[in-house]
């Protein structure tokens, strides 16, 4: 997304309800700033994130997608994030195999107590994605008309 000629990457963050969404709230409580272009979607557990959602986000114009969940071992549903970890390991490796910049996708474990980590992660991720420029490799030109 270009704003006043400056590239602001659009970041979609899928956050699990129990840890990471609460972590994002904590970042808010502590007024820890991160870029406006980070938009959070709440899911019950990171394991709810279907690879199709990620591709859909890229299709529609996202420049980066991050999935945040409880730390391994702390999943509210005991094992959800373990599946997330496997699924995303394989999916991201595949995207990389297809030549899609690996810096555009990330999984980060953020607990409900890690507001600071949430904000720092978003700042850092946004910066990394900004450095890559616009998402061209998984874009759908029809959505950019």
């Amino acid at each position: 997304m270009q704003i006043n000629g400056e590239f602001k990457p659009l970041i979609v963050a899928f956050c699990c309800n129990w840890c990471s969404y609460a972590g994002a709230d904590l970042a808010g409580n502590n007024r820890l700033a991160y870029p406006e272009n980070v938009k959070i979607i709440k899911v019950p557990c990171s394991c709810r994130v279907n690879p199709m959602f990620i591709l859909r986000a890229f299709q529609r114009g996202a420049d980066g997608v991050i999935i945040c969940g409880c730390h391994p071992g702390d999943c509210h549903y005991t094992s959800g994030n373990y599946y997330t970890r496997r699924r995303m390991s394989l999916l991201f490796s595949m995207l990389n195999f297809l030549g899609i910049e690996k810096e555009r996708t990330r999984v980060e474990w953020v607990s409900a107590a890690e507001g600071a980590k949430f904000a720092a992660t978003m700042n850092e991720f946004t910066e990394a994605v900004a450095a890559l420029g616009e998402n061209k490799r998984l874009e759908d030109l029809r959505c950019k008309r």
Binding site: R60, G61, D140, R142, C143, R145
Partner: protein
């Protein structure tokens, strides 16, 4: 009739592409396909392209119109771009014939302006065959591969390319090419034509006859128990329909890009389970019915509506590409075989 030496073919390409985009069959690692000509692109020696020339006139997907909403208003935008002139070079007789078949669908009422525009802007250089493959059966449908037709017919010999205009459009373009071609005598290619004729008789499918099919045969074949057997292992993919030069079914779909809705059409396949799916469901629920539809359409329904013209041109692409090697030849032989007499 005009001619040029094969060495000078490139200058012909150059000349054509001065006024229009030129596509020629070129070799890729997976066989020949029409490729936009730029300097250095060589013409393939292959018998035919993987995909037919249908794509130029009836592309797999094509935007029709776009809607934009502003508040509670809808704006309709015609997104059609100014069409450019183009030439397709080296189309074989079978594929040339396919345009007759497509024209009858798209250029009669309801008239398809998208297709028509492309037809108007496109010039077809056909190319006579000299080495038909074992999978060729154009003869079955009365096509002579040595007389390919279209705007300009071409014959290629060992050293020269001959051109013969068949239409006004063809004459016009040959005129433009006068500077890079020489005049020639029509009898120069008689030998080749004759030789091709001989080969045609020797092709393994030369005895395949469409006589038992055509107009008015619906009741004869529709309920044949053979359909079930023939379609038993059909996997229901769309390969045959998508490589076919005459398949012309499409679906119209909307794509909501978030910024507006793009209405586009895309090829559809009667082999797909959601083909012609309507509110009540699907009119052909089993693969057998869908399979029957495709072949009945080629061999009976289309002729019914088009003065007996079949909508198969015998190009053999489906014979080469079907994942399970089921194809129209097997269907014709099975249905028209002795058991069915």
């Amino acid at each position: 009739m005009r001619k040029c030496s094969l060495q000078n073919l490139e200058t012909v390409f150059e000349k054509i592409s001065e006024s229009m985009t030129l596509y020629i069959p070129a070799d890729t690692k997976d066989g020949a396909d029409f490729t936009k000509w730029t300097k250095g692109v060589q013409m393939s020696q292959a018998l035919n392209t993987n995909r037919s020339a249908k794509d130029f006139f009836f592309p797999q997907t094509e935007d029709l119109v776009e809607f934009k909403t502003e508040g509670k208003n809808i704006e309709v935008i015609d997104t059609r771009k100014e069409s450019e002139d183009f030439a397709v070079f080296g189309v074989r007789a079978c594929d040339v014939k396919s345009f007759d078949i497509l024209d009858r669908v798209f250029l009669t009422e309801p008239y398809d302006s998208y297709y028509a525009t492309r037809r108007e802007h496109g010039v077809i250089f056909s190319l006579a065959c000299t080495r038909p493959a074992e999978t060729c059966f154009c003869g079955t449908f009365g096509i002579n591969p040595a007389e390919p037709g279209a705007d300009v017919s071409m014959w290629k010999t060992d050293s020269e390319m001959f051109f013969e205009a068949n239409t006004e459009k063809g004459k016009e373009i040959l005129k433009k090419l006068e500077s890079v071609t020489q005049s020639a005598d029509a009898s120069d290619v008689d030998g080749q034509k004759k030789k091709t004729g001989e080969i045609m008789k020797k092709l393994p499918l030369s005895d395949l006859s469409a006589e038992k099919f055509g107009k008015g045969m619906t009741s004869k074949y529709f309920d044949s128990p053979k359909w079930r057997e023939l379609s038993a292992t059909c996997i229901g993919c769309g390969t045959c329909t998508f490589v076919c030069p005459t398949c012309q079914c499409y679906d119209i779909k909307d794509f909501n890009s978030g910024k507006g809705v793009i209405r586009y059409r895309c090829w559809d396949s009667c082999m797909y389970s959601d083909f012609t799916k309507m509110a009540h469901g699907n009119s052909r629920n089993s693969q057998t019915e869908r399979f029957r539809q495709r072949f009945m359409h080629k061999l009976v329904y289309y002729p019914d509506n088009n003065d007996g013209m079949f909508s198969c041109v015998g190009c053999g692409r489906c014979l080469n590409k079907c994942p399970i090697s089921m194809n129209i030849v097997k269907v014709m032989k099975t249905l028209g075989g002795e058991d069915n007499e």
